[in-house]
Structure formats: C-alpha cells, structure tokens
C-alpha cells in the first residue's frame, strides 16, 4: 500500500494540478493578508473559503483522479497485490497531496505575515485541521461515487450533486425544517442535523472559536452545554473523525466486491 501511495503521491506532485491548487492557496493567502493586513480577519474570510471550496475541489479531484488512473488501476489489479492496498494507496495519495497543497499554500503566507506572533495561531491551525479533514472526507466520498459508477459523466454528476447538496441545499432544508417546527424544542434536533453534514460540522467547529459569543446567545440547556464547554469541541472532532472513516470503510467494502 505504501508503494502505491508513494506512486500516486509523486504522480500528483509532478502533475500540474497540484501546483495550481498550491498556487491558488498561496495567492489567496497573500491577497487576503495584503488586503486586510490583519490575521484574525483573514481567518474569518478563510473559513468561508475552506468550508465551500475544499469539499468542491476534493470531490472533483477525487473523481477525476479515479477515472484518469483507471487503466493503471486495472494493470495493478492484474498483479499479486491486495485490492484494498491499491485503492487505499490511491486514496491516501490524492488526499495527502491535496492536504499538503492546502497546508503549505495557506501556511507560507500566514507565517510570513507574522502568524506566530499573533494570537490567531490556534484559530488558524484549527482551520487547517478542519480543511484536512474535509479533504479526506470528500476525496473518500468521491472515490466511492466513482467506483460505483462506470459511466464518467454520471459519476461526475453525482459527485457535484453531492457537494451541492451538502454545501447549500442541506442548509436550506435544515433552515426550513427549523422554521416549520419552531413551536417544538429544537436544540437537540439542530445539533444532530449539524452533525449529519460534515460541512456544517466543520463550520460549527470553527465557529466555536470565532463566534462563541453569538452562539451562547440562545437559551437552551443542550446548546449551553455543547457550546459553553469543551464538550462541543471534543464531540465535533470525534464525529468529524467518524465522518472520515465512513467513506474509507465503504471504499474498502466496494473495492473488495467490485468486478472489474
């Protein structure tokens, strides 16, 4: 598995896309800091970018990579190598290189602008950790979609739809249901609904650091307990971790049974 991981990783590093992705974040980081000159405000803007763009790029990249390397995958399958290690290797190669682009691309400008001297460092590292989680989750989901669909167009369509659903539509439905059922106690529901969407979950995780004063404005014992203590942070981190495991496990399951 490590060999395949290495191969995928270097393959991507050599390809243009990794550089483009890396340069995009580098430019984004520099522009944000140049325009704001304030690390803490840039962190807020970055959050919006991270929770929207990272899933999108992860999804598209994952699907693209899977379909592009299909022939190579078939070649590998003919060799005496375990199936799971082929797919896991590819998956970790893609997710790893994307994460590296993200961390380096955003880390370099922030380091140059004096992140270490600012007290936003914790917020910033949380942002990067969440970004890494989201990359792993969405690359995994896209691999699962790609492996279940032979048709490239269909696979792409489903993957983009998945992103659209989780990034926008889900929140719309969530809001509607909150407003329709506003007569009922909704705090447990809203927390559970948040946990069921990795994008919402990472948003909440970052909000816990950035907007805690607003989140504490709502009267509700469960909210208070969740947002007012470290419990919220720990629970969201744990669920995010589960969210990462979910596509990996289903990818393994699918890969084992698929007939090439």
């Amino acid at each position: 598995m490590l060999k395949i991981l290495k191969y995928s990783f270097y393959d991507l590093i050599r390809s243009r896309w990794s550089y483009v992705y890396f340069l995009f974040y580098l430019a984004l980081g520099f522009v944000l800091l140049f325009l704001n000159n304030d690390v803490s405000k840039a962190v807020i803007t970055l959050m919006n970018v991270i929770i929207v763009l990272i899933p999108l790029i992860g999804t598209i990249f994952g699907v693209m990579y899977y379909y592009n390397s299909r022939e190579f995958t078939e070649l590998l399958l003919a060799q005496p190598i375990k199936r799971s290690s082929i797919f896991m290797g590819q998956y970790f190669g893609v997710a790893g290189s994307l994460t590296m682009s993200l961390v380096l691309g955003l880390g370099i400008p922030f380091l140059l602008y004096g992140l270490l001297r600012s007290n936003a460092i914790f917020d910033f590292s949380l942002l990067l950790v969440t970004g890494a989680f989201l990359t792993f989750i969405f690359v995994g989901l896209s691999f699962v979609i790609a492996i279940s669909n032979e048709n490239k167009i269909k696979g792409f369509g489903y993957a983009v739809l998945l992103w659209l659903f989780l990034a926008v539509v889900y929140d719309g439905l969530f809001l509607m249901s909150l407003i329709i059922f506003e007569e009922y106690p909704l705090d447990t529901f809203s927390l559970v609904a948040t946990a069921l969407n990795p994008i919402d979950l990472s948003r909440i995780l970052i909000l816990l650091k950035l907007d805690i004063s607003a989140l504490l404005g709502y009267t509700g014992a469960i909210f208070r307990k969740f947002f007012g203590t470290d419990l919220g942070f720990l629970v969201s981190m744990a669920i995010l971790f589960l969210w990462t495991l979910l596509p990996i496990l289903s990818l393994r399951y699918k890969a084992k049974r698929k007939d090439f």
Binding site: S40, K41, I44, M47, N48, I51, V52, A167, V168, V169, D171, G172, F174, L175, L178, I179, E182, L186, D187, F189, S190, L191, T194, D200, R203, I204, L207, D211, I212, S213, A214, L215, L216, G217, Y218, T219, G220, F223, R224
Partner: protein, 416 residues
C-alpha cells in the same frame, strides 16, 4: 497695637475658629491590648473631630454606630470581624472619614439589608482604602450626599441572587464620587437607585452575579474609564435620563441574557469612546430615545447592537464595528435612527471619488438576524453558504429589513 485694629481681631478669631478642631481634636489609639480596646466604646467617649487610630489586630464587633464627625483610621489593616451577626459600621453624622480597615463577616439577613458600611443622611463623608470580604451588602449610602467612595476593594462570594447583596449601593443619594474601587463577586457591583449627579470613574467591576453597574431612576450621572468584565448580565441602565457614559470597557459578558450594556427607557444619554469586546450582545436597546453613540468600538461581539423596539432619534456616528457576528439587529420594519460615518469591517463597497467614505451604502442589518430573532435555534447556521446567499439577495433588494436603515457614508478606513 495689633488688637486695636478691629479687622485684626476678626482675622484672629477666624484663625482660632479654623484651628479649633485641630487644636482640641484628640487622637485615640485603639489596640486589642490597649486601654481602649473596643471601637464602639471609644467612639462614645470621643468628641467631634477626634481621630481614632486602630492598630493591627482583630476586633470582633458589629453595629458600630458613628454618630459624630470622626476620622477612623486603620493602621496595617486591622480586621473588624462582624461574626455574621449584623451590620458593622453605621455612619449617622456629617464629616466622617473611614480609612484602611479590613471588614469581614457581615450578617446575611432576609429582612434587613445589612451592610459592611452604611451611611445614613450624612454629608461630606470619605470612605477609602477599605477591604471588604465575606459580605452581604458592601457600602450602602442612604440619602447621603457630597461624599467620596475611593479606592476600596470589595470581594464577595455571591452564589445566588436572593441571598446576596450589592457591592456599592447608592439609594436616594446625590453628588457622590465613586472612584478607583474594585468590586467582584457580589450581586450588583455598583447599584444606583434614585441617585443623581453621581460620578463613577476608574472602577473595576467583574464576576458579579447580576450587573456590573446598575442604574435605576437615576439622572444626570457620569461614568467614565470603568471596566466591566464577565458579569452575569453586564451593565444595566434603566429608567434614567441624561447619563454620560464615556471611555468604559465592557468585556466578555457571555450568556443568554448577558449584555455589554442594557439600555431600557433611557433618554438623552451620551455614549462615547467606549469599547465593547466579546459580549454576547454589545448594547441591547429598548425604548430609548435621543441617544448619541459616537466613537465606540464594537469588537467581536455576537450582536454589536440589538434594537428591540420603540427607539427613536438615536444617532450612531463614527463607531467601529469589527468582526461582530451581527452588527445590528432589528425586530421591526420601522427605523428612525441615523447611522452615519461608521466603520464596518464587513463592508465590501468601494471609494472611487477618494473622499474616505464608501460610494455604496452599507446595510448593517442582515436578514439572518431576523430569522434568528424568530427561531433562535437557527443560530447554528451562522456563516453558512446558504445564509450568505440569502443575506446577499436581501442586501441587493431589501424586503424584510427597513429600507432606510443604512449607513450612506461608511468609512473606508478604521477610525483610530
């Protein structure tokens, strides 16, 4: 001869009169092993304008009545232990000075407001350098005026509102200066009721159960340079007129009903150069008119300003709104308040004519804040892409937010 001149006689008489208290004033020393070991008894023996020096030691006394103008001064903080039996000092005379005592164990009562120091119908008092601990009420001024409460330290251990008292309470008092005090762990840090012309400066009021500072029916008061931090509900100014609030800091008042400042039925006040930092609600305004908000900084609050209703002719000018989750929240479609020349960190306009103000007006009220007012649970959707899209469309064509609620001249650069 000097005495032949009648004017000189008057002058001499005047000098005698002025010196009189000094010349005949006696100094009494009190210590646990001295001839005078009881504060209460010594006060009864002392004449007006005498000085009582209390040496270091522990004095188990309570209900000490000061009924003549005396200077009572502690040396090295003698401990006056009330043993939770009742009130400790009761001042009922003009011109009393209390200085440098360490008062502990005020009796908690459900029928009487026992205080460590109570001043009743007195003038020209001075209470300074006191340390009060394990108290019920701290310093209670009742129908008193022209005094000074200076540099005291009041540390309570209040747990419940019903059996705790206020740090410094002014009731029907006027012309009092309260400055450089530190109050923490009481119910209300500083509480004013029916008290006019009070000046409150340089105090620190923190970790109190309810309000750091609380005004009720008190007019023409000034409070400046104070710090209010982590109080149960922040600072409340209610039913008062002509209050000046300047250069205060309101920090970290977090909770469901916590405010940096709560204004209710306040008219003609002036709020300027204050800093509101990381409060759940920076200022909560209800039924307040003709208030000028100028040059304040609102940094990282949940809601910088929340307007509940019936607020007319207020003006917000030259304030900085930095990284608040919501800048302004309204619950009605009417607006009679003016927003002009503020800096908004979420302003995205441009300044083509280079006059320092943006060319596109800024609309500080988000649609999302209406949604949150209606269904508070929706706060979990804060900063989601869906909400941003909706807010954007509302900003382009306002439907729910007041049409004229906008800052037509938002500053491009932060006001420093």
């Amino acid at each position: 001869m000097i005495f032949n001149n009648p004017h000189h006689k008057y002058i001499l008489g005047l000098i005698m009169l002025l010196l009189g208290p000094l010349v005949w004033a006696k100094t009494w020393t009190i210590c646990p092993t001295c001839e005078h070991s009881s504060i209460k008894e010594t006060i009864q023996q002392a004449n007006a304008h005498d000085t009582l020096l209390i040496q270091k030691g522990t004095y188990r006394e309570f209900e000490i009545l000061v009924d003549r103008p005396l200077v009572i001064k502690g040396i090295d903080y003698p401990i006056i232990d009330g043993e939770k039996k009742g009130e400790i000092f009761r001042v009922q005379s003009d011109g009393v000075t209390l200085d440098g005592l360490f008062i502990i164990n005020v009796g908690v009562s459900y029928t009487k407001d026992n205080a460590a120091i109570r001043v009743i119908r007195s003038k020209n008092f001075l209470i300074q350098n006191m340390v009060l601990e394990q108290l019920f009420f701290g310093i209670y001024l009742e129908k008193s005026s022209h005094g000074k409460v200076y540099h005291n330290r009041i540390i309570g251990e209040a747990v419940d509102e019903y059996n705790s008292g206020n740090g410094i309470q002014l009731w029907y008092s006027s012309d009092v200066e309260v400055s450089k005090n530190h109050v923490q762990g009481t119910r209300d840090g500083i509480y004013l009721e029916f008290s006019d012309q009070i000046t409150i400066t340089d105090n620190v009021s923190r970790d109190n159960l309810r309000y750091g500072l609380h005004f009720m029916f008190s007019d023409h008061d000034v409070y400046t340079h104070n710090t209010f931090e982590n109080n149960g509900a922040g600072v409340a100014v209610m039913f008062s007129k002509f209050i000046t609030m300047k250069k205060n800091t309101f920090r970290k008042n977090w909770g469901t009903a916590a405010y940096g400042m709560l204004l209710k039925e306040i008219n003609d006040a002036e709020i300027s150069e204050n800093t509101f930092e990381e409060n759940t609600i920076g200022i909560n305004i209800e039924g307040s008119n003709r208030i000028k908000y100028t040059d304040n900084d609102f940094v990282g609050n949940g809601w910088a300003i929340r307007v509940i209703g019936a607020c007319y002719t207020n003006s917000f000018k030259g304030n900085n709104f930095l990284y608040n989750s919501f800048d302004i929240s309204y619950n009605s479609k009417l607006n009679d308040n003016v927003f002009e020349g503020n800096f908004w960190s979420s302003y995205t306009g441009y300044d083509l004519d280079k006059d320092g103000t943006g060319d596109v007006p800024y609309r500080p009220v988000k649609l999302f804040s209406y949604v949150v007012n209606r269904t508070p649970e929706t706060i979990v959707l804060l900063r989601s892409l869906f909400m941003d899209i909706i807010d954007f469309s509302e900003r382009v064509s306002p439907v729910f937010t007041p049409d004229n609620l906008k800052d037509a001249q938002p500053l491009m650069k932060i006001r420093s």
